[in-house]
């Protein structure tokens, strides 16, 4: 059963296309792109600015409607769902990390995570606090739980952002340039945390970045240019030993 599910892509984009603008200003950023992402694998989507990698991530994650094609996630056609169904799908299955940390200035590290548990899963304050503390401990931030973003370093803030994305234990984790604002030492740690989410928890992790140093930390690299995928590189066997499947 597990083997079967691993052979099937957890997330699949089929003939995806997307343009912006109209008439003479119309720019096509995705040209008939098909992609498969697997559970337990961290995939790096690389390419120069304007290559369409963030647009592809947005479409695969249910944030941006494609002009053509479809996205199959866990057997569901993501863009055939209603807005509310897609919102619920994201709530249940998706975590996001963005380049800017986008943390609430007024809230502590613990509260940033608690908020997702309480508002997203309807957790009790007690459960939300326990889960937040567990996640912060996992991220090495146990002693920083009471700090606000202005009292934390960039790396710490990005780790809180990762915690916020992973606290729901999502099937999918989408990271857009998660290390570009960090020095490499901290960025390496961030990528390792994402890699751990894939390998230890069986999450499907898609990282969009242009930093080539990340390559050696991921399972698979997909290069993109001018809205097309042009090279895929397997760094390790696709199937990993998954300690936990959801």
């Amino acid at each position: 059963m597990i083997g079967d599910s691993l052979l099937m892509p957890a997330l699949q984009g089929v003939h995806l296309s997307r343009s912006f603008g109209e008439g003479e200003t119309k720019t096509t950023v995705l040209h008939d792109v098909s992609i498969e992402l697997f559970s337990g694998q961290i995939t790096l989507l690389m390419g120069p600015s304007g290559s369409g990698k963030s647009t592809l991530l947005a479409i695969l994650s249910g944030l941006l409607h494609p002009d053509g094609g479809r996205v199959m996630a866990l057997g569901h056609d993501l863009w055939a769902m209603s807005d509310l169904e897609r919102e619920r799908f994201r709530l249940r299955h998706c975590g996001f990390i963005f380049q800017g940390y986008n943390l609430f200035n007024a809230l502590t590290a613990r509260q940033q995570l608690e908020m997702v548990m309480r508002w997203g899963e309807g957790a009790t304050p007690r459960d939300a606090r326990r889960r937040a503390d567990e996640m912060l401990a996992l991220l090495g931030l146990a002693k920083k739980a009471h700090l606000r973003p202005t009292e934390m370093s960039g790396g710490e803030k990005q780790r809180v952002a990762i915690g916020r994305a992973l606290i729901k234990e999502p099937n999918f984790c989408f990271a857009d340039e998660p290390t570009s604002a960090l020095d490499w030492h901290v960025g390496q740690h961030v990528i390792e945390l994402l890699r751990s989410a894939a390998h230890d928890r069986g999450a499907t992790v898609l990282v969009v970045a242009h930093d080539a140093r990340i390559i050696e930390h991921v399972d698979r690299v997909i290069h993109m240019e001018d809205g097309r995928l042009w090279q895929q590189e397997e760094r390790e066997p696709v199937l990993h030993t998954i300690k936990q499947t959801r």
Binding site: F96, Q111, V116
Partner: protein, 376 residues
Amino acid sequence: MASYSLTTLWYERQRYVPGVLAVAFSALLIALQCGLLLGLFSITSIPIDHTQADVWMGASEVSSVDLGRPIPESAQARMGVLPEIESCEPYLQGFAFWSKPNNGGSELCMVIGSRLLPNSLGKIDKLTDEQCGMLAEEGTVIIDKSDEKKLGVEVYKKAEISGQPVHVVSMTRGLPSLAGPYVLCSINTARKLLPVQKGETTTYILGRCKNRQDAPRVVEKLKATYKDVSAFTQADFSLRTQLHWLLRTKAGIALGYAAALGLLVGAVVTSQTLYAATIASLREYAVLRALGIPRWRIAGMVVSESFWIGIIGIALALPAAYGLAWAADRLMGVTVVSLPWWLQSSAAAVTLIMSLGSGLFALRSLRQIDPAMLLH
């Protein structure tokens, strides 16, 4: 939700200060405007509020204490036979013309004639026993010190009311008037000074209940039994009198206009403060939306913030209103601003609704939340 809202309000207090101050300003304006008017019109019900009667019975459809018409003094028996009544007595009140000495012109005044024993129901409580003794002599009156110049007399001077000579024997303090200066005297003197009170008539019958809580029941009995009179408890007649003046002078319109203006200013500033605060956190909210957090949760936080802004604003405004009212009263020597609990509650409720409305109006900012904006 409340904890996140409060935390945000406190941590980013500089951002929210304009909203809180706008709400406080609105609440203060409403409370003081209404309190000022209430204080002013409470003067009109002084004869009710400063006497000891639990029940007032007068002519039918009496809309204000100063507009009482003559009723037979024998009506006293109607009240006296009720088992709840401990005692009852006549009370005369009506407008009359005061002629100043030495042809100094005339003024409209309000003559109040009551029994003057220490436990008399219609005796104004500002009168001392000594002053009551002075009024026993027919033709003697007492006015308030604040009306001395208006009436053009001093103590021991003589004037005329309705062509009858009166002798000012003393003065009270703290008995301001609105429509006409109060002239206090005995029932016998009042009968002479009020031309409409002919024969065995009175303006009101005042009653004291054995148990004060029976007053509403006595009123109901009188109303049910006698259609040619009206009856009120002390509190109801006081309120009725004040409302009559409020509506007759159209002061309510001015009050409503000023209060609406205050509310509008508060609503606009609060709404803009919340709108700007939400726009400033647009990217953070966008992350929550990307994570699938429902929009209503975010809307709830904005509305929750507006609720707390309202509460904090009101908490600042009411003590300030008290302080200003106290200062005004001290300055004028009489109650200028009246702030009963129901007025404070009403001002607080209206302001809170305004604040919540501002929060709802600020929700338009949430339309700008788009998770795709976070991608590069």
